[in-house]
Symmetry: D2
Subunit: 338 residues, 4 copies
């Protein structure tokens, strides 16, 4: 399939906008034919037109049933991911599905099975793997620049918590936020999590605690290859989106910092002031979002496996579940095998 890929986008929210924009400006090898959302806003109609999407619908089945559409981007709410992915796969369409596939492990397993039987490609939206900084860390591990890997550290803090209504249906911080970091640990170590231990607290907002969730956590993982990984999370860093990592090994360490809008440093009477991190994921991962989409389109065109498979979608959910259990037991918990 080396000709142009025809796409449909299901869901017209923030992340759909990101992908539509990337596809329009950066990826001439693909074309979005239709976008569907039951609550398609005028704003969405506007940017859809601006990004060259000629057809809109309130019913995602119009995309599933369109024989010209090769692949579907599932950008709808999490609770619909599994169902739509399955329907699309059964209709013979390749799928790019935002993370997580579902909070329910059985549903994810079922989905992966359907996809497998359908023989279509599936890519999960772990965009951070395509970030220039994290790729530099991955390279340092793979190339053995740091020798044998001993430790991975991930710092992942949001500029602010989501609305409480969202917190309630999010599946919890581990499933909603840390899930990216669990993927990052797997990506950087090239290994699977054997056991996970979590400490967590409600320090940002008591309302989050009332909603049954946590907002601050440190999670330690023992990996199958013998290395140790640790993640620290906060739902609120006042200075912005803090996304750093470090890989440490027998020949040294590579650490990455945050990206900023520019390198300007202001020496003032108050101190020597550099820019804050880029505000949030849309800013920090703008290029990564484009690159994950490019890699999806390239995989389809070359008939190759996608760089982030369905299994990569399942495993972080299993880790999140084990982390949640660890919070209750106070023990390190094994991760369910796939």
């Amino acid at each position: 399939m080396s000709e142009k890929i025809t796409l449909g986008i299901i869901g017209a929210g923030r992340i759909a906008h990101v992908h539509a924009k990337s596809l329009f400006f950066h990826i001439p090898e693909a074309e979005v034919k239709m976008i569907a959302d039951p609550f398609l806003s005028p704003q969405a109609e506007e940017w859809a037109a601006k990004f060259g999407i000629k057809n809109t619908s309130k019913d995602y089945k119009d995309i599933i049933n369109d024989p010209e559409i090769d692949a579907v981007l599932v950008c709808s709410s999490t609770d619909t991911h599994a169902q739509i992915t399955q329907e699309a796969a059964l209709a013979g369409k390749h799928v790019f599905c935002e993370k997580p596939i579902d909070h329910d492990i059985a549903k994810i397993r079922k989905t992966l099975e359907v996809v497998k039987k359908a023989g279509v490609q599936l890519q999960i939206g772990f965009n951070r793997r395509f970030d220039h900084n994290f790729k530099a860390l991955k390279d340092a591990v793979v190339s053995k620049k740091i020798g044998d890997l001993h430790m991975v550290k991930v710092t992942s803090r949001d500029p602010g918590p989501p609305p409480i209504e969202y917190v309630k249906v999010s599946g919890g911080m581990f499933m909603d936020m840390t899930i990216h970091d669990f993927d990052m640990v797997r990506f950087l170590t090239g290994s699977e999590v054997k056991t996970v231990f979590a400490s967590a607290a409600v320090l940002v907002d008591p309302a989050i605690g009332k909603a049954g969730d946590v907002d601050t956590a440190v999670i330690t993982m023992e990996m199958e290859n013998g290395t140790i990984a640790v993640i620290d999370n906060s739902r609120k860093a006042v200075y912005g989106y803090d996304q750093r990592a470090e890989v440490f090994g027998s020949l040294g360490a590579v650490a990455t910092g945050n990206d900023t809008t520019n390198t300007a440093v202001f020496s003032s009477g108050e101190g020597v002031i550099a820019e804050k991190p880029l505000f949030f994921f849309l800013e920090r991962y703008e290029q990564a979002f484009a690159d994950e989409m490019k890699s999806f389109i390239a995989a389809l065109r070359n008939g190759e496996e996608t760089p982030v498979t369905g299994m990569d979608g399942l495993r972080p959910v299993l880790i999140a579940a084990a982390a949640k259990k660890s919070l209750e037991t106070g023990k390190k918990e094994p991760v369910e095998s796939v």
Copy 2:
């Protein structure tokens, strides 16, 4: 003129490629209809097609004479800039002309006159004004974040000298390389150069000296607003393209560093190693090139003056001429008035 702008590109070298790419990927408000170059290479034909340019020609007059073309990008060799710009203007086309307009001051004056009479817009390719770092410096000056401006320092070093054959026809380092820095000093200070003093040497390659040029220089300028500016140049920094600046004033200083591909820092047995600067101008100013083109298209569509006018093209040439004279006299030299 709020509809789509139709463009022709004259010259199909490296910088034409940059602009064609920016226009195709980032600027849907414009369309390149034709590219012309007497020595159009197969590679150029290839990228032209890839960037949606349907027509090619060996004769730039095909562009000048095409009534559908609104504006021309002059990306040919420097010695043709003035002539083509004049012809395009006389044909009623707006012009984006790469720097410098010419090495000959009289020719530049004549060109600006023709453009003025023709009533078309002219933008000169001082792309660095659109760089995120230099914009941060400009903002710090304009906003008075650093109080009253006292001093501007520009460091501008290339990763390696151009071929000697190019050096011979380049007009000299001041006209070819420092000219960007002269523009930067005008941009950052918001003032004009009153006098210029230059010290220079041949330290990189004796062949440059034999060709009658210099490769290393420090140039000091006294500005009309009373501030002092200083540029340091080298034709060869082994660590890459070094493009930094600092503005210093009564309330502090803002300095910018180089951009890098990522923020990774490798702590090794040999030291703590960060990335080198982005290799050269195509890498460092990729976004700036796109943004200057966006601003050109926006100026045309809005019928506004371009952000880098013909006068902005003349003045740095006058400064370069004065700097060259200073080298001979050992004195600070006044800059010819426009």
Copy 3:
């Protein structure tokens, strides 16, 4: 006791040398009268003389029994700390004791009891509290510059493991090395450790594993004030002594880096290279060692409590014991109360 303090130093190894030097060069308010070591080397005799110590002995009892000596620095091997501290206290002398007081908790308790009854002062050698960087972190917490504290992160890596013979008698990495970091967590949080969970591995040298110890660890602590702390340790960082920490709270984070011999940054064809961290604890904490000694002498002269008390010596040992237990149980373990 505002006159000069007369000291005796027991043990003439590396750390005794550090203190003797600090006292001679920086602290005119104290004078070392005697140094005692059963295996006093010629080198030690030499530096003792150079640092103005007039008397040497092979028997530490000569110090204990000298009525002119006000205070004793216990710099002998760890297994003798408790015994000598008790003897000195019983003889009415104030004691500065290197960490840890002992590996045996009962012995430490007994020692503290003796010291208390004797009514003398005791300071434990947690020198890092006096480091300029860690003090800046402490200030940021105490001053509420970062708002309410949420998280503390400590990175502590040695440039290389100690000899295997030492590893065998060291009490294990937690007791020997992490003990400083446990103290740092208490210092920075201003709170006590409620539970501790440890993950550890043998990744640096299998011989360390054969000796029954670990060389790489991540340790998470839940503090009584609700904050979370995490330490990462390695016995070997090829780039040198890595001693960093971060405090994160509701109004921001403060992180410290390593100290270096100078600020020089070398931009080369290989990268942009800064200095490695200062080699090891003697270099990094040179000023901190002097300052802890100054604070000890000042406490004695002012009749005030020392800044690092016997209880500060006991608690990290209790944490280390709990961490060790956690390694076996795979659970977070409570810390024994004092």
Copy 4:
């Protein structure tokens, strides 16, 4: 002369205090026997006693005439340097003289002649040569780490101007402040200044202009070895004492930053804020002051030439004079030969 060196200090101001403190705390190989100042303050008497100086006098001749005194530190006001240095030399005493020896070139020449005839050692107080950062730059040049040297850049800015009364007698900014930077250029290049060009302005305080001086300057030097050096000065940087330099050569560049009290970086809602530079020369060069004194004492004890000779005292004054002349002529001016 390998026994203890006996010193006298003439002048009891700020810099005398620095040296007395260094000698007392860091240099057991020397002893200050007497300090003399016609206006010896009670504060000075106090610190003199604290630093072990047993004798004070209002008449510096008491030092010159004391046969036990081996060497004299001339820390009095600049206008007395030459006279006292000559008297001390004639009395057979070695001399450490603060910079500058004098503003009058003939007087300096005469002084050097007297010193030479007397056969005593003379060291000039260019303390910055002993700074850890500048030494790293010097090493990078000498070791050819940066290959052949092409360019030296020195940034030297004070936190605030001296009182106008001082400005009037200071000999001008070049003689008073830039003189250190002229020395630094000679030190870093290992070459002599051939020509100097200066641009300067009054931007900090009009009163400085009324007093006939300037407060902001950029000075370019062509060196005998073909390299180019440039200094930028300001009498007032609100963020503190800015003391940086860069050496650039065929194999790269080494640049140094400012020292700070600690490495703490505060990520806040306002930005990412690092510490300001150490406040002023007493803080920044504390260790350098001690090290210059150590090197002076070591030179005396070893009977070797001092590391900063009388000729090193003369040359920067000649450069300053040429820079001043350049301001008037608008030309690069040759530096008078020694």
